[in-house]
Assembly symmetry: C2
Homo-oligomer: 167 residues x 2
Amino acid sequence: LKSDYEFKANAVGVVEEGLSEEGERNKGRYEVLSRIRVFPECTDGLPGIGEYSHLIVVWHMDREREVKLKVKPRGHIDMPQVGIFATRFPPRPNHIATSVVELVNASSSYLTVKGLDAWTGSPVLDIKPYDYWDMVKNAKVPSWFKLFWEERSSQRHYAKNVPWLGP
Amino acid sequence: LKSDYEFKANAVGVVEEGLSEEGERNKGRYEVLSRIRVFPECTDGLPGIGEYSHLIVVWHMDREREVKLKVKPRGHIDMPQVGIFATRFPPRPNHIATSVVELVNASSSYLTVKGLDAWTGSPVLDIKPYDYWDMVKNAKVPSWFKLFWEERSSQRHYAKNVPWLGP
């Protein structure tokens, strides 16, 4: 296998209502109810999904145009420069996002979710249930991430106020 | 957006040593050390990744040829028929897998990981750090998943024997 291996996929759905602007991405994630429309070709894949409390949404960050391999996380604290694979930041190769969300409602073709950091119109590539294989006890993260998290937790939208979230 | 929206990506790396046969997929996942080679074009994205204990590997299940929207989970217990999006099974639209793995070692172009359910040769589409945004406390799963999990836990490869795994 070489790096010119090309992967092709079709969207299974779209974020019909999500974050309205890029600036909202980190601000309102856990307050906004997002609505995913699953395309008619794929709605047969939905039955049973309502029995899970959380999902992993795989989506294409299609507004992102850049790829940067070295990034310096933004924030008020001094962040080290790290490789993009050491972050969840958007300008990554392939612009694929995986977002853990709370499932609020599932109908025959729509999913209403909380915690999705996708802009309105984003293509959805897969929808997966969050299950026990996704749960890591005591995951270790860098100290810069912890500082970032604490800073976010002190804001009203994050951590402490989302009962299912965090370590 | 319509379902004919086409997404294209290039592999960022390859599972150079993974599960050797499809049959091993569920058997040896937490026993096998897998090695991911990151392509030279992308190795600049790696620095800093070694500070995390766990990663999310996004990869293409390129051996899977089928797409089934309705599936009946295999196992010794009676499973209900559910939609593919209510499972993590391979024959899903786009054949994208997201696997949470333990990072055992990171070098300048290789990642050695534990818990990857990918066959040798699988294309890797993204590598993400597992962080606090991926941790769900008390996630709810269907009763069929719990039975499946208990059955697996009684085998030597799973749950009870992987200290970081599970609820």
